[in-house]
Each structure stands twice: as C-alpha cells, then as structure tokens.
C-alpha cells in the first residue's frame, strides 16, 4: 500500500519568509509525528498528533514553529520568519496507534534557508 508522503521534496526560501510543509500519513494511522534531521545530527523530535490533537509539542524549537492536523489525516508544519538555522530535512512519520508501535517515515522535505 501507499506509504507516508511529503511535499514538497525540496524547498528553498529566503530568510524571513514563511514556509508550509505537508505530510500525508498512511491511511488509517492515528498517530503522526514530525522530526527534524540536521547535517551531522540525529533525528530530533518536534511534535506528535493523536487524531487532530497534539499532546506533545515539547520539541518545537521556538514559537515560529507550529503544526496542525485536520480530519485525522493530513498535517501541515509551518515555519514563520525562517532563519538559516532552520535549514534541515523535515521528516514525517505515522503509526497505527500511539506507543508502543512502529513509526513509518516519509521521504522528507529538504528545507534550505538562504
């Protein structure tokens, strides 16, 4: 079946602009996660959704970052007033249910802030 999809695959933006990253989870998966992978660093948790609610936002690095999920499916991660340190690969994952359960990852969105 179809896996997790993300769009765009690449995004180049100028410092100070807002960007939106989209994630389509595996159909039927109730939990959805966002992670960030910076060069030379491990994957860093940002936020997770159970249905349309976000019980854990502890990984969002600043109030410039926000996310929402609608219809228990698609999620959008928004970064306002982008900074160069926001450059990274943003990965989305979904799981059938909340922990313990396997998370399946999408291909990621590579964000470059000039």
């Amino acid at each position: 079946g179809a896996g997790v999809s993300q769009s765009p695959s690449n995004k180049v933006t100028e410092k100070g602009k807002d960007v939106e990253l989209r994630c389509d989870p595996i159909s039927g998966h109730t939990a959805l996660y966002w992670y960030r992978q910076s060069l030379g660093q491990g994957l860093e948790f940002l936020i997770y959704f159970q249905g349309n609610s976000a019980p854990d936002k502890s990984g969002l690095p600043s109030d410039r970052f926000s996310a929402e999920r609608t219809g228990g499916s698609v999620s959008t991660l928004t970064i306002q007033r982008t900074q160069q340190e926001d450059s990274a690969v943003y990965l989305c994952a979904s799981s059938l249910r909340v922990a313990p359960d396997t998370q399946y990852f999408g291909p990621g969105t590579r964000l470059t802030v000039l």
Partner: protein, 111 residues
Amino acid sequence: EDQVTQSPEALRLQEGESSSLNCSYTVSGLRGLFWYRQDPGKGPEFLFTLYSAGEEKEKERLKATLTKKESFLHITAPKPEDSATYLCAVQGGGTASKLTFGTGTRLQVTL
C-alpha cells in the same frame, strides 16, 4: 531524559566480512527499541522492533538483539547493497510517544 549512543560512527567492511553495530541506551521504562536503515536523501526505512531484553529478530543478513542496556545489529556476510546509515531509536515510558534517536552508524561494504 532518554539517551541513545551508537558505535562505531562509521564502519567499512569487505563483502562477506561479518560485524556488529552497537546501540547503548538509557531510558525510563523502555517500551520499544527500533532499528532503521537510511539511504542518502531518503527517509528512514523500518527494520526491527524489540520490546524486551532477550528478544532477537532476524531479516535476511541482519539480526537484532536486545539486553537491558544495549542492542546489537549483527550483519552476516554483508553485500554492497547493505551500505547505508543504520539508526537506533528508543521509545520510553510515560505519556511520551516520541522516538529518541542515536546519530547512526554509517556502513560501507566494498567488493
């Protein structure tokens, strides 16, 4: 706070030369330990989930084992197509569902 340390950072093997990758972890109430493979420019691909000490899982040339402090990914007679970064992650107890990842082991298998 959950912590994961992987070693070595990089490993170069010849085809057929077996070896092991290490993942040491500290976690409050382990709910799962996960191994993923990541190829350049792609998202992590799921390999194994281990839930309790003593558990072992196998898939082709890979075998994952778990103790109370660490996990090993054993690679038997590797092939060049096994070249990738292997990531280890833990899911801890409490209400958190996030994965805490190590920085990975970059494996290169040469002919």
